[in-house]
Amino acid sequence: MGPLPQKSETKKSDGIEGLPEGTWVHEGVYLITKTFPLPYRHGDVLLEKISQSALTLEPWGVKGIPVFLDLETTGLAGGSGTYAFLAGLAYPSGTHLVAKQIFLATPASEKLWLKALFENFPGNRVSLVTYNGKAFDWPIIQTRSILNRKTLPVDVFGHLDLLQLVRYLWKGKLENCRLATVETQLLKVKRTIVDAPGWLVPKHYADFLKTGNARPLQGVFYHNLMDILSLVALKLKIAKLMRGLELVDPEDTLKAGELWASKKKMKEAEKLWKTVASYDCPWSYKAKLKLAYEEKRRQNYEEAASLFEECAAAIKGPILVDVLIELAKINEHHIKDFPKAFKFTKSALVILDRARPFYEYDSWKKLRFSIVHRLKRLTGKLNRQKGII
């Protein structure tokens, strides 16, 4: 039998000083629990209805109750030599958000730390929400389990990696996609000076192992807690955007629609694109173009043609060539308006010749050849039509 869990204040018998309030759950493993009554404000985001937002993001890996997870590790190198010493978990529980931090006070206790980590999951079938967790956090837990000869007692049946969505939605807009950047620029979270910057975390822990003084780790505990709260906030923000409830920037909404489309959820995608199309902004034509292609896919050629025509009136440059060719195709094959098809093909040729510097020579030549070919065919069809008349 190991020592029974005991209440710790600021001092522990084995010489560790300065830990925040919590309990020793196993030898060398310390648990800090915090609860946040909902709704709770984090930066610009009001944390509430967390499980509901989870449903929105189901196609990206959330199934059932989400568990937010973030690790603090001895390094970023990966491989079997990097281990985690602090796991932050958060999950909704009734009217509260529960945050648990499981701390490893000596690497010798890692096996017990893993045990504590899994004991503190809110069930044995969970769905993870992480930031780069597919490549980093979760493989570390798998590796550490193998090294400690532990089979995973938890069935992770979903995993939403928010980094992948952030990259898709905001890559061009953000300076980089680090969580800290996302947090200040998108969530407007302001951290206090207690916060330990991420790159100093391994050093703080190594120092603690040497001295037994945990006070300098206060900043790391704070850092980890803020990270998991930001994960919750970020997920809510993305879910809102995906449901069309946050219409701050039409570009974001357009991309959110593309995300739906990538999961073949066309109804949701169209809803967002229609919203953007109704605005008077450069993005509205991009949205109309998306809608046009979608109508064409559904063989609603009249609708597709009118949307493409709207786009053709507003778009310039090489994309216009594609739009004109689409119009030519629809008019030739479906609406059977050959004079119109001829007119669009002809203007496509003019635009293509003007846009030549923007193309690789080979693809330009190929494209031009196909347009000229279409023009010839249409001329033939027009002549035949005239002949009949």
């Binding site: 190198a77 030599g81 281990y83 690497p107 010798a108």
Partner: protein
């Protein structure tokens, strides 16, 4: 072939020796106990029976014994491990095997042969090559599903061992580890690989497996000793081959003397090119080995010119060496196999068992530095029935001339002993770090058979490891295997970029960092694919070298200024000392040397930063005496340079290393010795025990140098003994005098 060899004898130079090796018949044996399907597959490939050595190996391996095959080139060594490995997987679908080849090129080739056997047996065995070229997306699937993983030591070091938890299926079921070309793992590289195997075995034991090791080796004198040093386990060695061989002839050719007084011989490069061109003209499939990359390019140029002058197709000749891009190399291998080219000029890269088919003739431009390499290069030519031949063209190096004068040495001497020093602290400490990263060390745990408690204690004091509960945990935010290069001091390469067409720069090759100051200093002439380029700019920070194609009739040869600074003297005896040194070198000037005639056309200055290396060295204060004091500085310097040149050539024989493994240098006024001194240093950071060996063998080294000098037939010193020093000074007499003075003390 016979008429060609007769032609060689009519050349102006001297055929010093001619050996003939009779044909050898085959020795067969009954099939060992094998799955019917496998025997059928082998028969389908035309293998009706196995040679005696193959049967012996397979039986031993099936009994779980470690086996190393040290039979000659092309004796069917790979079957000896392919058969038992495939059989084990047929019996147990979970069984796994790891194949380690020294280079990527070899592993790709090996995979082709293995696939053939798998396909014709129709069994479900998945093999895959895991190296830098494996697509990242495919890796995860391959880790779990592959029965046979083919890799190289470098990838094992950085890609597999540090990520062993991702390879759990492999390590939990690892039955065989195949190490091909074991003899490559000597010296520094071998010491690294020995430690890599310690790491591998530690991981296996964590997953509860104890694989059987199977190796193959070229002819060296101590394959069993080397294998047991590498594996730290008993090894059964098989040296007798049952494979048949056709008759072979071996000629040693010494180019003619063109200047009796100076002892200058006709260029061995020109003579080699002439012989190779004659062979190519007669459609004799030929491989030419030479010692440096520059020589490869020079030979390709010369042979092509020779063929053109006879109105023949010059592109039957290709170069093949380290600096070529991998795709270029694959293409050349293919052409050679398919007979599109009949002559290939190579550095020792082709010494390894790359499948280029059976060639008729091997030409060795100069002694390759070791008996083992020589036999392996000779072994490249060989047919099971027809006559094949090898010709070694002696270069002007003292060692070559020594061998030309006393060819019985080549045949009398047993091949070198391959040495490794797995406990070399520099190498050991780095691998202990990597191993600690992979799995925490327990207090008192050994690494292989080495007690490493002091290293662990040191690393934990340094904060690299954290000791907790009798275990040492990796604590640094770093990936130690990544900063550890197994091959040489540095894995960095300069990329050679051709900017002849300014708008369209093309990468044409690479040069490793240590060779860069000599080969690609600004204004140097760089040869690639038989074309000449001049270096326009060398970007040290970006590791780029910009060259432009030029049409010149000379090449460049750089001089290095070297200084030694002893840091820690470990031992002193009489005039000799041994210890750690800082070796600093900087290229100073380069000479322009005319192609073909090799006359000096002038020189230029080189401005490059100094390269530094910490290594071990031994040195001796040169005993001079009153006569020396009367010499002018020029004469003193030439005698000392002569001594250093002599020792540089002869010492590798006794230290059992290649010329490039050591650095020998004479200094007239050495600030540390406060007088004339000669240094012999390990050409590796941290040292690898060669200087230590030289310190032990010091008297023998001096005596053999004296003997080499006496046996040289020149009058006043020549490139064959004291080096190309110049006609004004009788360097031979002065060097002999200096050596005698030293030996008298």
């Amino acid at each position: 072939m016979d008429s060609f060899l007769e032609w060689v004898k009519t050349l102006n130079g001297k055929v010093c020796s001619l050996r003939e090796f009779p044909a050898q018949g085959a020795a067969w044996n009954e099939w060992p106990k094998l799955d019917e399907k496998l025997i059928k597959a082998l028969e389908k490939q035309g293998i009706q029976r196995l040679y005696s050595h193959q049967v012996e190996a397979i039986k031993m391996i099936q009994e779980g014994k470690n086996v190393v095959l040290a039979t000659p080139t092309a004796s069917g060594k790979s079957l000896c491990y392919n058969i038992p490995v495939l059989e084990a997987i047929m019996k147990d679908q979970n069984a796994r095997a790891l194949f380690i080849f020294p280079t990527k090129a070899l592993s790709q080739d090996q995979m082709a042969g293995l696939h053939q056997l798998i396909n014709s047996s129709g069994i479900d065995v998945k093999t895959f090559t895991y190296d830098g070229d494996t697509p990242v997306a495919a890796r995860q699937k391959l880790r779990a599903a592959g029965h046979i993983v083919i890799t190289n030591p470098d990838m094992l070091n950085t890609g597999i061992l540090p990520h062993h938890t991702k390879w759990i299926k492999l390590f939990e079921n690892l039955k065989y580890v195949v190490i091909d070309e074991l003899h490559i793992y000597k010296g520094v590289f071998g010491s690294h690989v020995a430690n890599l195997i310690r790491r591998l075995k530690r991981i296996c034991s964590f997953y509860g497996t104890k694989p059987t090791f199977i190796g193959s080796s070229a002819t060296i004198s101590n394959p069993k000793e080397l294998a047991e040093l590498l594996l730290e386990e008993p090894v059964h060695i098989i040296t007798r081959s049952g494979a048949p061989r056709g008759p072979r002839k071996f000629l040693l050719y010494n180019p003619p003397v063109v200047n009796e007084q100076l002892g200058i011989r006709k260029s061995s490069l020109n003579e080699t090119a002439k012989i190779a061109a004659e062979a190519a003209a007669n459609n004799i499939s030929t491989i030419v080995f030479t010692r440096s990359r520059v020589n490869v390019e020079l030979l390709v140029t010369y042979i092509r010119r020779n063929l053109i002058s006879r109105g023949l197709e010059p592109h039957k000749v290709e170069g093949y060496r380290g600096g070529y891009l991998p795709s270029e190399r694959r293409e050349i291998e293919r052409k050679l196999r398919e007979g599109e080219i009949s002559c290939v000029v190579s550095t020792n890269a082709l010494e390894l068992g790359i499948d280029i088919g059976y060639l008729k003739l091997a030409i060795l431009h100069g002694y390759p530095g070791s008996i083992a390499s020589m036999w392996q290069q000779i072994g490249r030519a060989g047919r099971s029935k027809e006559l094949s031949a090898a010709i070694m063209v002696a270069s002007s190096f003292a060692l070559d001339q020594f061998l030309a004068a006393r060819p019985e040495y080549l045949f009398g001497a047993s091949p070198e002993r391959a040495r490794i020093n797995a406990d070399n602290l520099y190498i050991l400490a780095n691998h202990v770090k990597c191993s600690a990263f992979e799995l925490a060390f327990h207090h008192g745990e050994t690494f292989g058979n080495k007690d490493i408690s002091e290293i662990l204690e040191y690393l934990s004091q340094k904060g690299t490891l954290h000791k907790a509960g009798e275990r040492y945990f990796w604590q640094e935010d770093s990936f130690p295997a990544e900063s550890l290069s197994l091959r040489s001091a540095t894995s960095e390469n300069f990329v050679i970029i051709d900017i002849t067409e300014t708008a369209k720069p093309v990468v044409i090759g690479e040069v490793d960092r240590p060779s860069a100051p000599m080969l690609i200093h600004p204004e140097a002439i760089y040869f690639h694919g038989g074309k000449t380029y001049q270096v326009m700019q060398l970007d040290y920070d970006g590791m780029r070298c910009y060259v432009r194609q030029v049409d010149v009739d000379y090449y460049t040869d750089a001089d290095m200024a070297v200084r030694f600074q002893p840091i820690d003297i470990l031992e002193e005896k009489g005039n000799w000392g041994f210890g750690e040194v800082l070796l600093a070198s900087r290229p100073t000037i380069y000479k322009k040397i005319k192609l073909h005639t090799h006359e000096n056309l002038g020189y230029g200055h080189i401005h490059l930063p100094e390269e530094q290396m910490h290594t071990t060295a031994c040195w001796f204060k040169v005993q001079t005496g009153i006569v020396w004091e009367g010499w002018d500085e020029n004469r003193q310097s030439s005698a000392l340079t002569g001594l250093a040149n002599l020792m540089r050539s002869t010492a590798p024989l006794f230290l059992m290393c290649a010329r490039h493994d050591i650095i020998v240098h004479g200094l007239v006024r050495d600030p540390f010795i406060e007088g004339p001194a000669v240094y012999i240093a390990d050409n590796y950071p941290g040292g690898i025990g060669l200087a230590e060996g030289a310190f032990e063998l010091r008297d023998k080294l001096l005596l053999s140098a004296r003997e080499a000098l006496s046996s040289c037939k020149c009058e006043k010193g020549c490139p064959g003994c004291v080096g190309p020093i110049g006609a004004q000074i009788n360097a031979k007499r002065d060097t002999a005098f200096l050596l005698d003075t030293i030996l008298a003390h």
